[in-house]
């Protein structure tokens, strides 16, 4: 499985986590933040990001506001109250998964 497929599965968690850290972000900013944090290892495609943002918005986890920036309209996403709780739950779920995955991949470490 390519890393992009693994990334796609955790995209909602990544978006929620980033928005938990920053008050509000716009689409392009999210792609660049992921690129910067992973030193370019994670390539977040727009084709995957925007449907995730719109889905999270429809589920009530994100809210949006628009601002005029340099003569154009910029749409910012931020977490709702429910989104904040979901971000914590998703991050915790992913962390547990990674711990268990580590045990499977390195059984010796798990026994220690």
């Amino acid at each position: 499985m390519s890393s992009s497929k693994l990334l796609k599965g955790s995209l909602a968690t990544i978006v929620l986590r980033l928005l938990e850290e920053q008050e509000k972000m716009y689409g392009y900013e999210i792609t660049q933040k992921v690129k910067q944090l992973t030193a370019g290892e994670f390539k977040l495609t727009e084709g995957a990001l925007y449907p995730t943002l719109h889905k999270l918005e429809a589920e009530g986890y994100l809210t949006t506001e628009t601002q005029q920036v340099d003569g154009r309209v910029r749409k910012y996403y931020s977490l709702t109250k429910e989104g904040n709780a979901e971000a914590k739950a998703k991050v915790s779920e992913l962390e547990d998964f990674l711990v268990n995955l580590q045990k499977v991949l390195n059984p010796k470490l798990g026994l220690g």
Partner: protein, 227 residues
């Protein structure tokens, strides 16, 4: 953003079939942000769109499918908000006042006109509302055209335009089904019965005022924010 850049992006998005204002603005900002941060500073905007932006979205089909997904997401939000408003009215004082008012009007007017006419009046109110919405939607599309916008409509108008046509069809289909199945007498009996006329009329009035509130929240706020 220069007018030239706006025109290049607008023509591109129009050519690939982006129709709605909200998605147009989001794409425009994304393309320009990406262009401003491009590695190769000799690259033109057209080249950047062709070589960087379009492939990163997964091609034209994917861009259009994102717009469609966003429309469906917006549809969910609009109806969720509509039912929130409706429930707040149903469980609050508007329901009590309207029910008391309608009951009073039904009993007083039953001396002069029959209940089916009263129900017909409230149904006409609903059709007027639908007509107002549809006119507003068509007017907006017309304005986009005359003001030479690169998009054709807004997502809110597009969603409501599709769904309102369904609301026009439903009462018509129900009446036709009753007539075809020989149940027109039964239908008239129901329509003449205050037990059904009163809650039916109250519900239609609550639908009407809920739609009005939604209209104020969704239509005007969106336009002010984006224009």
């Amino acid at each position: 953003m220069s007018m030239n850049q706006h025109d290049i992006i607008g023509k591109y998005l129009q050519a690939i079939g982006v129709m709605t204002r909200e998605f147009f603005y989001e794409m425009e900002d994304h393309i320009l942000s990406s262009f401003e941060n491009r590695k190769d500073k000799t690259q033109t905007l057209q080249e950047h769109i062709r070589d960087e932006v379009q492939p990163s979205f997964g091609g034209v089909k994917k861009i259009l499918s994102i717009e469609k997904t966003q429309m469906n997401a917006r549809r969910k939000l609009i109806w969720k908000r509509f039912f929130q408003i409706l429930m707040s009215y149903l469980l609050g004082w508007p329901n009590m006042i309207i029910t008391a008012g309608v009951s009073g009007v039904v009993y007083i007017s039953s001396l002069y006109i029959n209940n089916s006419k009263l129900f017909g009046i409230s149904l006409a109110l609903w059709f007027i509302l639908v007509f107002v919405f549809m006119s507003r939607i068509l007017w907006y599309s017309y304005q986009c055209k005359t003001k030479k916008k690169y998009y054709k409509t807004s997502q809110v108008y597009s969603v409501l335009g599709n769904d309102m046509s369904l609301f026009i069809s439903i009462p018509n289909v129900v009446f036709q089904l009753f007539t075809l199945s020989g149940g027109s007498e039964l239908l008239m009996k129901w329509v003449n019965s205050p037990i059904l006329t009163i809650p039916g009329t109250v519900l239609l009035i609550l639908f009407f005022i809920s739609s009005q509130k939604l209209y104020k929240e969704e239509f005007r706020l969106q336009i002010q924010a984006l224009n």
